[in-house]
Symmetry: C2
Subunit: 218 residues, 2 copies
């Protein structure tokens, strides 16, 4: 396949395609036109064709997409054809909630350990996944494959631990700490989930919406 | 203030400004130039000026921004000057993790109740917030202010409950269920947090990054 620079906007839509195709598969659908896929997904058919053309197409004119094939190909594009070993730093409520998601494992993301500083948590486990002492993190990373480190600890410690992880050779960080990480080594992929930001965006849109509705009654 | 249509891209940056300004306030900084703010936030100074001009400016030429004032004004824009009452449907690990976030309350998002169908959970509480029976949801919504409903239940039930909430008058949904909601009434604000999608995007970027690094050694 040709390598082109593909925009993050396209990449952001790919998991959604993957999700919808998975649902179609579950429902026993074998073939779908870009028009049908588009009306289900609420994007235009031309958007779908354009997005998929970035990766070489997959559709036959007038014949639609083979659901199973497209599902697998998008899975490969997203790197879901290999396992990714994931650790979670911070075994508080959020860390434990993430460790409990069996869904992630089905997608190939295998959570192997959680780390915390709380003596009450260390030695326990979540769904069979051990909670280890944070001080054992360097040893663990040296002796195990760690593809992705998930940060759910307080933001005050996030930079230090993130930089330590990177210096240990971890190059992908899934960051839930409420801070934009300042990394010394820039050769790292960071994906942020800022829950408060998301809530504020919802709040903005809600307030705006209420104002607009209010206007209609003026 | 003039009302204009402001793009979601701008809105998405506002919580980040708010976060950085909050950090500056905590650090005792009273005034900051758009250049300094820009180098801290890793966006261009002209982007910052442009973004803030959507809301009327706030800066004085050559004199920078008053941190406290700008923080408060952005807070108002984001609707953080009023309380938002939030319920959570699904008191599993994620629901409980969200209920435990004291940070949300500081921003004005007050979680008043969780709902679940699990008899083991009903009657318990999280940080003093009661877990109620899902069947009591309609009564609860009729008798309490509910500005935002958070969905953390399995995706199979998400559409039904979301539509019920909307019919009860809830007009903002914070959706963690791994599905794009199909709402009958379109007059609803939905903000999605699709954790698997985020993980897949990270995976894509990691695989791509590894490939590119591999090429350098060819």
């Amino acid at each position: 396949m040709e390598e082109k620079e593909i925009s993050q906007a396209v990449i952001r839509r790919m998991p959604r395609y993957y999700r919808y195709l998975g649902e179609l598969l579950d429902a026993g659908v074998e073939r779908i036109s870009s028009n049908d896929l588009s009306s289900r997904m609420n994007v235009t058919a031309s958007q779908i064709r354009q997005d998929l053309n970035n990766f070489g197409g997959f559709g036959q004119q007038g014949y639609g997409y083979n659901v199973q094939y497209l599902y697998e190909e998008i899975g490969k594009i997203l790197g879901l054809n290999t396992k990714h070993y994931v650790i979670i730093i911070g075994a508080g409520h959020l860390g434990q909630a993430l460790a409990n998601y069996v869904k992630f494992e089905k997608l190939g993301f295998v959570i192997t350990a959680l780390f915390d500083v709380d003596p009450e948590l260390i030695g326990k486990s979540v769904r069979g996944i051990p909670i280890l002492a944070l001080e054992d993190l360097p040893d663990y990373v040296r002796n195990h494959t760690v593809d992705i480190a998930t940060l759910t600890m307080p933001k005050s410690k996030a930079d230090t631990i993130a930089n330590e992880l990177v210096s240990l050779g971890v190059h992908a960080i899934w960051n839930f700490a409420h801070v934009d990480l300042e990394l010394i080594d820039k050769d790292v992929i960071v994906e942020n989930v800022h829950l408060s930001d998301s809530l504020m965006q919802l709040s903005y849109n809600t307030v705006k919406h209420t104002k607009e509705k209010g206007k209609n009654f003026e």
